[in-house]
Symmetry: C2
Subunit: 329 residues, 2 copies
DNA sequence: ACGGTTCGGTTAATCGTTTCACCAATTTGC
DNA sequence: GCAAATTGGTGAAACGATTAACCGAACCGT
């Protein structure tokens, strides 16, 4: 691997000059600049990331922390995030917490060890300790649905309410009066916001409701739906995510209640598989690629400008009607 | 952030000693070791990754290159890979090529810049230039389904043949005589291997066959299935991956040909959604978490032992029968 | 009791950049 | 035309680890 020194030699300048043109952080004479660039090309030179990080005191690898990359909600966000990072000349590293506190603790060590210039947490619950550790060192961070912005922390606020209200309105227009919610874990912020919006919308429409807290998994959705169908006799259920909606679909199928004939089902997220369920799932879309891109961009702007204060970015959600909703029986 | 120097001071030893105990690469007196460890703990010390990489000439971040993390085949592999890396105290960075040659070229630059100690390519086609670039610098690599092992390169060979033959045997026993294959892209190694096995099995069973090359996507599967149903009148189709199988399922549904009553469908991969299609997809499982884990482990052993030559690791596949297969009409 | 090992530790060079401080040669202002 | 400012460049000190070379003390075997 060619080093900056060799480039300097070949271009007949000092290493400082090479560094200046490569990062273009100081004016250099156009002619000199050309020489340097040519030399770099000729030697197939790439800056040594480690050396650069060491000297600069920070690496150019930003971190993206997700609870579970295996959950279909995250790969697309990840992809968008990484793509945005790459066009900005940064690398990104994704870390899984598995929603495990122990792992979460190790995450912070790894972030510090790597000297990341910033991190995006797309997990629904983040340890207070993690937030503090980053804040104390004033490392920029962005969180998803996590209260207001702080000094160096931005927040991406997803407007779950809008989509949820649209969903309920849709159900109301179809004549549903008894609807159930298969909710997310009681300790997740996003799950709570969805539940609240559900309750609000249903109340406004004068509907009878029942909510079962579940766990965002397919089996969870399956069993919760069973409860809703049994005790409550709902004509429609909305699930706080698509995975649970899929569980509900299967539950309905197994109990031979036709969807959407006897039961309407609405999911949440619009994961890519939602369009391929049978029948295709009506769901509230949350703009995952926008979230991914925004997560990086907001982080990047915090990183790039050390005086910039964190702010809140809003993204919308919207109902996409497919085939699992129909007039109430 | 505490540095090694501060730890040394607090422990009353030299930085070298601290380094030795932390990496335990040289014996030190147990008593001294304790002092160092305590000091490190007290100062909440974590080694600076950049400095370490620079000094050692290689980072501890291994790379995992995938064509598209959005494709449900890859997140689980990724997760397994990362988990394995983490328990070995390594970080991993995943890069998307999007099967785009331009991006692929940038991947190699980034790998070199990061000074990765090794890289795993799980893409079906890798640029010759990439392989050469790594080989020239003798950076360990592992590939998926890519010919024999080389000097510092290992290979994970998935035995697609076994699963495919099982699938065809299954079909044969159900009385199918005219079966179609929805194949992958003609330039992909894995796709070709699957096709060959299909042809072999069908020939052995004396079946009539027809293969349509497609592109591993849901719509691709949809249209290919239409062709198979139209011109060829197959009683069963096997798809080279689950996404296309799902497309086929929808095509059948839209044309009102009942599955599995009038058409049996077999997928390939056993992505997690395969169990949630309606009806649940019969498919050939490829052991993704095993592949992920193995990819890291094989890489790791190459990295850890600089004399070790690359070798081939085999993983099997097997048919999992669900509900999309039934006796021929 | 003495030369050779082993033990447990230190010193200092090194990795490849960034960036501050400085400098000479121009250009500018008046 | 001369001091001051600007331009375009260099030298060298960090950054925080790893690791080769060295060194004194204790421990051998004979």
């Amino acid at each position: 691997m060619a080093t900056i020194k060799e480039v300097a030699q070949k271009a007949g300048v000092s290493v400082a000059t090479v560094s200046y043109v490569l990062n273009d952080v100081r004016k250099v004479r156009p002619e000199t600049e050309q020489r340097v660039l040519l030399a770099a090309k000729a030697l197939a030179y790439f800056p040594n990331h480690a050396a650069r990080s060491l000297a600069a005191g920070r690496s150019s690898i930003v971190a993206l922390i997700v609870p579970d990359i295996g959950n279909p909600f995250f790969p697309e966000i990840t992809k968008a995030f990484q793509e945005a990072a790459n066009v900005s000349g940064m690398e990104s590293i994704v870390m899984n917490t598995n929603s495990d506190p122990r792992r979460t603790r190790s995450v912070i060590e790894r972030l510090l060890s790597l000297q990341v210039p910033g991190a995006a947490f797309l997990t629904s619950q983040v340890d207070r300790a993690v937030k503090d550790a980053l804040a104390k060192r004033s490392i920029p961070a962005v969180y998803l649905d996590h209260g207001g912005p702080g000094g160096r922390i931005s927040n991406i606020a997803v407007d779950y309410r809008k989509g949820m209200l649209e969903a309920i309105d849709h159900l109301a227009q179809l004549g549903h009066r008894r609807i159930g919610l298969i909710g997310g874990p009681a300790d997740g912020a996003a799950a709570q916001r969805r539940k609240l919006a559900f309750l609000e919308g249903a109340a406004a429409a004068g509907m009878e409701t029942r909510v079962i807290d579940s766990d965002f998994s397919v089996p969870g959705g399956y069993f919760s739906c069973a409860k809703l169908l049994g005790g409550f006799d709902a004509t429609a259920v909305v699930a706080a995510n698509d995975l649970m909606a899929i569980g509900a679909l299967h539950c309905a199928y197994d109990r031979q209640v036709p969807v959407p004939g006897a039961l309407s089902v609405i999911g949440f997220d619009d994961i890519s598989f939602a369009q391929f369920t049978q029948p295709a799932l009506t769901t509230v879309a949350v703009p995952r690629v926008e979230i991914g891109r925004l997560a990086f961009q907001s982080l990047s702007s915090l990183i790039g400008n050390s005086h910039e204060a964190g702010r809140t970015y809003e993204v919308g959600t919207e109902l996409v009607v497919r085939q699992t909703t129909a007039p109430a029986r």
